[in-house]
Symmetry: C2
Subunit: 344 residues, 2 copies
DNA sequence: ATGAAAGCGCTAACAG
DNA sequence: CTGTTAGCGCTTTCAT
C-alpha cells in the first residue's frame, strides 16, 4: 500500500487544466490568486487542487522566474553561543518572510568558507549572511556576489572596507569600557586575551583596550596581549604563559565568556583567587557567565537581535541593483555588565 | 562598472554550444565528464566555460532530474548544546556528500514544526532529519514523506512506533544508571526532573529511574517526579517546589546539564550545599558541566557523532523505495561520568 | 476573464 | 563520439 503511494505520479497544473477544461495559464493564475480570474473558476480550481493533492513545483517555478527564495548563511563556528543565538534570529526573520535558509559551516577554516561561498553562489541564493573565520583576510571569493549586487551581510565580522553590509557592535567602545572598568577596579596590570587579530572585531577591541590604558597613563605591554583562537587548548596554553610571567596581571579582559570561564577555572586550580587576586571580564554575556562562581562581568549585546537585524537588512536589499546603499554598517548597542568576577 | 556586471546575462550551455559549433548535449556531457566525449572536445569546452564564466544552472538541472540534492533539518531548539553539536555532525556529512542543508527551527512549538515539515515537503527535499518538539504527539504531518518513502530520520526523539529511522542512545539504561549511581552514593530520596514525557526519550529515562528505584526497594513517589520543559523558568519553579517539600530529596537526576547547573546555583543560593546536602547528576556532558563547581556528574554521549550517524543513515536511504529498511533504530553508546556533584 | 504559444536551461532517449 | 528531439512544470506575453 505504501509502495503504491510511493509510485504515485505528481499532479501538475496540466492535469488540473485537463480535468477542468481550462488552460494551464488559468490554473497558474488561480493558484497565485491573481485578480484577473473569476471567483468561481478560482474556487473550482482550488478545490480540485486540494482534492487531488496537488503540490506546487518550486523547481519549475523557480527556473521560470530565475530566483530561489533562498538565503545562505555561512557560520564560522556552530559550537558558539553567539552564532547559534544569531542563527535563531536569522531563521525567524527569514522563515517569516517565506524564504528558505541554507546553512554552511566553515568550522573556522578558510577553505571551507570558500567552498561554501562558491556553492551558494552556484546555487543562486538570493542573499548571503556570513560570519567570517578568523583566518579570512582575502575576501575575493565574495566577488561573484558583489559584482552582481547580490546582498552580502557580514555579521559580527566587519573586515576592512570590503563591500557589503556589516552588522556589528561598537567593539572599540566595548574594549575601551571593559578595560576602563578593570582600571577603575584598581588594576595596575591589565592583560587582554584576544581572538585572531585578523578579524576586525578583535582588532577594534584591542584598540579600545590600548586607548583605555593610555588614557590612564598605563603602558601597553607586549606580553600583556595574548592572541589566540579562544579555543580550549589556547586558553590552557595562555594560562601556562600567565603563570610563568614575572609580574602576574591583576586584571584580564577575555574576549569570550566560555574562554573566560575556562580561564577562571584554570587559574583557580593554580591557586589564584578571583576576584581577590585577579579580576576578569568576559565578552558576550553567554548563559555560562551567570552559572560560574563568581559570576562573570561581561559585555552584553543581543545576538538574536543581531541575527534579526542582519536578516531584515538583507531582505530589504533584495532587488536593489544600484550601487547606492549596497555597502554600509549597522551598529547595535552593547553594554558592560558588572558582576562578581570584577568586584572586590 | 559594477552595475554593468550586475546586468551581465548568464551564460548557458546553448551559448557555449554556439561558440564551439557543437550541440548542447555535447556540452552537457562534457561538463559532467561523461566518458563518451573525447578528451579534446572536453578540454575545449571546459576551457571556454572557464573563460566566459559559465555557471551551471541547478534550477534547470534539478527540474529536469526531479531532485534537489537538499536535506532538510528541523531543530526543536537551537539554543541547546546538544542540537547544535548534532548540527555540526550533520552539516559535515551532508556537505561532504555535496548535498545542501536547509534548516528550520521549530522553537519547541508544534505549529512551527508542522509549517517547516510542509515547507520542506513542498520544496522537495531528498530527506528529512528532525528533532521533535516536546509537544509533538501526533506525527501525521510527516505522512507525505512516509507515504512517498522519502527518508525521515528522528534524532534523539524516537516517538512510539512511527515509521522512519531513529537515532538515539539507550535512554532507559542512562536513566537506570544515573539513578543507581545516586542510590549507590547513599541517596534515600531520589528525585527526577524530566523534560516533556510526551517525548519518548524522557519517558524512557523515567522508566529507567523507576526501575532502578524498585530494584533497590525504594518507592517511586509522585512528588519526586517533576515534569518540566527544562527551561530556565521551569527550573526556578522546580526549585521553589523542592524547597517547600516536607522531606527534601537528597539526590536529583536532572535531564539536562544546563538545567542541572542552574538548579545547583539556585539550591546553593537557598543554602543547600552540593554534594554535601544533596547530590546531582545531569545529562549530555555539555561543556558547562566541567565549568561549574562542583563539576557535574552526567551522562555522556557524542552529539556530533549522533548527527553524523543520522546524516549517513539518511544518505544511505536515498533511492530506497522499498518498505524494507525504511524503519529501524540505531542505538549509540552512552556512559555515566562521575564528577564532584555526586562525590562526598 | 481566459487561452495559445513560447521558453526558462538543462538532460536523456534514440539515432547515427 | 556526437546530434536531434522532446520535455521537466511552470510563467508570461500577446491575443481575444
Amino acid at each position: 500500500m505504501f509502495v503504491q503511494d510511493a509510485n504515485k505520479k505528481e499532479i501538475t497544473i496540466r492535469d488540473l487544466a485537463k480535468k477542468l477544461n481550462v488552460s494551464t495559464s488559468t490554473i497558474s493564475r488561480a493558484l497565485r490568486d491573481e485578480p484577473s480570474i473569476s471567483k468561481q473558476t478560482k474556487q473550482k480550481i482550488l478545490n480540485l487542487a486540494e482534492e487531488v493533492g496537488y503540490r506546487y513545483n518550486y523547481l519549475a517555478g523557480n527556473l521560470r522566474q530565475q530566483k530561489t527564495t533562498t538565503i545562505g548563511v555561512i557560520a564560522n563556528n556552530l559550537n558558539n553561543h553567539f552564532i547559534t543565538s544569531a542563527l535563531v534570529g536569522i531563521e525567524k526573520v527569514v522563515s517569516d518572510a517565506k524564504y528558505d535558509l541554507l546553512i554552511g559551516h566553515s568550522c573556522e577554516t578558510g577553505e571551507k568558507e570558500i567552498v561554501h561561498v562558491r556553492n551558494f553562489f552556484r546555487k543562486r541564493v538570493d542573499g548571503l549572511i556570513i560570519s567570517l573565520t578568523g583566518r579570512t583576510s582575502n575576501l575575493s571569493h565574495l566577488n561573484p556576489f558583489i559584482e552582481r549586487r547580490i546582498p552580502v551581510v557580514f555579521i559580527e565580522s566587519a573586515n576592512g572596507n570590503s563591500k557589503g553590509i556589516k552588522v556589528i557592535i561598537d567593539n572599540y567602545k566595548a574594549g575601551f569600557d571593559a578595560t576602563t572598568h578593570l582600571i577603575n577596579q584598581g588594576c595596575k596590570r591589565v592583560m587582554i586575551i584576544t581572538g585572531s587579530l585578523k578579524r576586525r572585531i578583535f582588532a577594534d577591541r584591542l584598540k579600545g583596550y590600548k586607548d583605555a590604558l593610555q588614557q590612564r597613563n598605563f603602558a601597553v605591554l607586549q606580553e600583556c596581549v595574548i592572541e589566540t583562537d579562544l579555543s580550549e587548548k589556547a586558553i590552557i596554553l595562555a594560562v601556562d604563559k600567565i603563570l610563568k610571567m614575572k609580574f602576574l596581571p591583576d586584571g584580564i579582559f577575555v574576549n569570550s565568556d566560555a574562554a573566560a570561564a575556562l580561564l577562571m577555572k584554570s587559574l583557580n586550580k593554580a591557586g589564584i583567587k578571583i576576584p581577590d587576586d585577579m579580576v576578569i571580564v568576559g565578552f558576550n554575556n553567554d548563559p555560562i557567565s551567570t552559572l560560574v562562581k563568581p559570576q562573570l562581568s561581561t559585555i552584553n549585546y543581543d545576538a538574536t537581535e543581531m541575527g534579526k537585524v542582519a536578516a531584515e537588512t538583507l531582505l530589504n536589499q533584495l532587488g536593489n541593483t544600484s550601487d547606492n546603499n549596497y555597502s554600509y554598517t549597522v551598529v547595535l548597542p552593547s553594554e558592560l555588565i558588572i558582576r562578581g568576577s570584577t568586584l572586590r
